[in-house]
């Protein structure tokens, strides 16, 4: 603990002289802003909220914050309304920065009528003709998306409750997953995070999540040290085999024997075997990969006989066979 304190002091001293501290803050804050995507209240309250939430997660699996209002409704107000209906400005004497304020209403009284969206001033304002001067948000600010309107509608229809759980209100459009495919390409990798870290460490390769979406799968990446990735290494990936969606194995030491391990990557979509020692004898093992979309065999010893079995893989769109004995054009 003392070291924390002394650090805090040394940094505090530094604040006056400037740079390092500024930098630190910049770095600190940007990690937050990078994520302000999730449309939550302000950064700090959001951070606080996460803090609490994650602590709870660490202990048990239920969260007080899992209400429909907090998860779905408040973020919409926060993004599109609070600039004019919040702490700083209260246009029409209305505030939308908390449930209590919302229910207090504005100049004209209550704006939400539980159970009756079409009779709720708030809902009327966001669904009227956008050229109407009463349309909200005012001043040609970005209007609500159809999904957001729908969220408000189902919430009001279901009783406009502060405490109703997220799961209890049906009919709301799914939260726009950050534009990625909503289909799960692989199981969520998070439960196996420790295993993944361990494997990365011992095998000297990377298992990188493809995106923030936990079911987008992992990329098996070897570019930093392809020389360290061999058949034995691949054989040790069995416990995460179903998580791997892309395998970048160009220039690695793998041979036909390693393809046995790869054949167990059931969710594999892209496989790069460029300049490896794989041969026609091994490629046939891959026909069990029913999701495989592309395979790169550039600069390998594979020939026509080797790629022929791949025709049975219906999902396969691209087979690259440049600098091989496969007669051009490679099967498509």
């Amino acid at each position: 603990m003392t070291s924390w304190l002394s650090r805090a002091f040394s940094v505090a001293r530094f604040v006056r002289s400037g740079k390092a501290a500024l930098f630190s803050v910049a770095r600190f804050v940007r990690s937050g802003t990078a994520a302000s995507s999730a449309r939550r209240p302000s950064l700090l309250s959001r951070a606080g909220l996460l803090g609490v939430a994650s602590l709870v997660i660490a202990v048990s699996s239920s969260r007080a914050e899992d209400t429909f209002f907090a998860q779905r409704v408040a973020p919409i107000f926060e993004e599109k309304c609070v600039a004019c209906h919040g702490e700083k400005k209260q246009k029409g004497k209305l505030r939308l920065d908390s449930f209590a304020q919302l229910m207090r209403g504005g100049e004209g009284g209550g704006v939400v009528k539980a159970g009756a969206p079409k009779a709720s001033e708030l809902f009327i304002r966001v669904t009227m003709d956008p050229t109407d001067e009463e349309f909200m948000p005012a001043d040609s600010k970005p209007p609500l998306t159809p999904d957001e309107v729908k969220v408000l509608e189902v919430w009001i229809a279901a009783g406009a409750s502060e405490t109703a759980l997220l799961s209890s209100i049906k009919g709301a459009p799914a939260l726009a997953a950050p534009q990625g495919p909503t289909v799960a390409l692989a199981p969520d990798w998070h439960p196996r995070a420790l295993q993944i870290a361990q494997l990365e460490k011992t095998l000297g390769l990377r298992l990188v999540p493809r995106s923030h979406v936990p079911t987008d799968g992992l990329v098996l990446r070897t570019a930093s040290s392809p020389g360290r990735c061999d058949d034995a290494a691949l054989a040790q990936l069995a416990s995460v085999a179903d998580l791997i969606v892309e395998a970048e194995l160009a220039r690695t030491q793998i041979t036909d024997a390693g393809l046995t391990a790869i054949a167990a990557f059931a969710n594999l979509r892209a496989l790069d075997l460029t300049r490896t020692a794989v041969t026609s004898a091994g490629v046939g093992k891959l026909v069990v990969l029913k999701k495989l979309e592309s395979i790169n065999l550039t600069s390998t010893a594979v020939d026509d006989a080797g790629v022929a079995p791949l025709r049975s893989v219906a999902s396969l769109k691209n087979v690259w066979t440049f600098d091989t004995k496969v007669s051009p054009p490679g099967p498509r």
């Binding site: 803050v25 910049a26 770095r27 802003t33 602590l55 660490a58 460490k201 930093s224 600098d323």
Partner: protein, 515 residues
């Protein structure tokens, strides 16, 4: 963390060696406590010293709660993953500095032929401010392209006879004819394209990608820049590292400039008579001193310095392998042409770009200068096209046949357009063109870009955009999108602002360009 381990990640942001959250002012106490709590748990799990560090903090603030515990233990994992699964893993940007005329290249205007030496209608020019170079001209005579166009490829796109090779990959290209920029002079315009801002000091595209996604290959820089020998020299703009600097981002996100010749990276080789182990010992010593300094002052730039030393040491092995072209088959030389053997040529650089892409370098930017044809345009544009056409075609073709084009986006273009009217005297076989920011053409290929299409339209004079204008910011937003990054979310707090590549003015991903 052990900085000499091969897994050492390029970005100091998440190597856990920076000041702890506890040190930060303006952080709610509760959050600090929570961080400490998790950190303690990490110790308990035996995951190492300060393991959560910045990665943990990023996680704490940047991820949704359920991910928190799970994400924390991954050492070296990028602090920021793509927001959505990317189409492009790498980009190769062929920057045609000086700005090739769109009228001779990608914005075919057949009706101009009948308007030779007619005055550009004032209504078209619309009282636009001109550069000092043509402001004093009394006439603005229309100069049609001296080069012919013909339909090429399955899509039947009109391609200039200046590009007989590129014409063969016309179906791979997505040509944008409606780009526009804010600057009318080279320096600010080039800066705007490379960094999103006309003023120096902002991070370039490659730096943003490095910051946002980290490295794929820790043995090589994430962002590499090359300048090319010019086939001729007129009106050559100076290039400097402000075009590829990391600005306010940590210095390891800046590009490494690969030079031609025996020393591709300056000061990389050991001085004569210094053996590798001596060098290693020296670097360890310097790093140790730096770490002590860091303990005292806590400036993260010190860590950036340490990781730069480490990167340089690793490049002592990775760069010689990279630059050794001896294992390239004859088919490579046939494709790129004989000039590819001469270090520093555009052809050589294109081949190098393919080799960098193969090895997982995210962003390679090749500059080719001397497209600034204010006078003698017909002669000089031909020299430039002859130098660059075959290598450009070769690069696209090579990436494609090796299966790399699907996840590598190639970008071609200059910093603005050129005027339809002649700068200086117009004769049947000679003219010049001045700068023109209102419209210009670029193309992109691969990496999730829709092949074979054209986007945007200009008027009959290639003077004003009449359909689908696309600002540089939109180009940047679209490039980031291809990499799975949301341009509004990829930000960095600096000088009180959430700085973004696309800045604060409206910008959007152009969905029509996406495959």
């Amino acid at each position: 963390m052990n900085p000499s381990s091969p897994d050492h990640h390029l970005c100091s942001d998440h190597c856990g060696e920076n000041p702890t959250v506890w040190d930060l002012p303006h952080v709610p106490l509760g959050l600090k406590r929570e961080w400490l709590d998790l950190e303690t748990r990490r110790h308990f799990l035996g995951q190492g010293v300060k393991a959560l560090g910045w990665a943990g903090l990023a996680t704490l603030l940047g991820r949704s709660a359920p991910n928190l515990l799970a994400n924390a233990p991954i050492p070296g994992a990028p602090a920021m993953l793509p927001h959505y699964a990317p189409k492009a893993k790498r980009a190769i940007y062929l920057f045609m500095a000086g700005s090739p005329s769109q009228i001779e290249t990608w914005d075919y205007k057949p009706t101009l032929a009948d308007l030779f030496d007619k005055d550009l209608p004032e209504s078209v020019r619309g009282g636009q401010t001109l550069t000092g170079m043509t402001a004093s001209q009394t006439r603005f005579p229309i100069a049609p392209s001296l080069y012919k166009f013909a339909r090429q490829g399955k899509a039947g796109r009109f391609v200039s006879e200046l590009f007989p090779y590129t014409a063969k990959v016309s179906d791979e290209l997505c040509v944008i004819k409606s780009l526009h920029t804010d600057a009318i002079n080279h320096e600010p315009a080039i800066l705007q394209l490379t960094t999103g801002n006309m003023f120096p000091g902002k991070p370039s595209i490659g730096s943003w990608l490095s910051y946002g996604l980290g490295a794929m290959n820790a043995e090589l820089p994430t962002f590499v820049v090359m300048t090319s020998k010019m086939p001729h020299r007129t009106n050559v703009q100076a290039l400097s590292n402000r075009l590829w600097s990391s600005g306010f981002l940590s210095p390891e996100h800046a590009a490494v400039a690969l030079r031609s010749g025996s020393d591709p990276v300056l000061y990389l080789n050991n001085p004569k008579g210094i053996a590798s182990d001596v060098r290693r010992a020296m670097i360890d010593g310097v790093n140790d001193l730096n770490r002590q300094l860091f303990e005292r002052v806590g400036d993260p730039e010190i860590n950036a310095r340490i990781s730069q030393y480490e990167m340089a040491f690793r490049m002592q092995t990775s760069v010689p392998e990279l630059t050794d072209f001896s294992n390239e088959p004859q088919s490579t030389w046939d494709l790129y042409g004989p000039k590819a053997k001469e270090p520093g040529t555009f052809a050589y650089n294109c081949l190098m770009a393919r080799r960098l892409a193969e090895r997982g370098v995210r962003f390679t930017q090749i500059f080719l200068r001397s497209w600034d044809q204010h006078s003698r345009l017909p002669t000089n544009i031909k020299l430039m096209a002859e130098d660059s056409d075959q290598p450009t075609y070769a690069l696209v073709t090579d990436l494609k046949r090796r299966g790399l084009l699907d996840d590598t986006v190639v970008i071609w273009g200059g910093e603005f357009g050129r005027t339809v009217y002649s700068q200086g005297a117009l004769t049947p076989d000679n003219y010049g063109r001045d700068h023109h920011p209102r419209c210009f053409s670029m193309w992109m290929a691969g990496g999730g870009v829709k092949p074979g299409i054209s986007y945007g339209e200009t008027d009959d004079f290639s003077y004003n955009i009449v359909k689908n204008p696309m600002h540089i910011r939109d180009l940047h937003a679209t490039i980031l999108h291809l990499f799975g990054l949301d341009h509004n979310k990829l930000s960095f707090k600096f000088q009180g602002l959430d700085q973004k590549l696309t800045g604060v003015l409206p910008s959007k991903v152009i969905n029509d360009l996406l495959a």
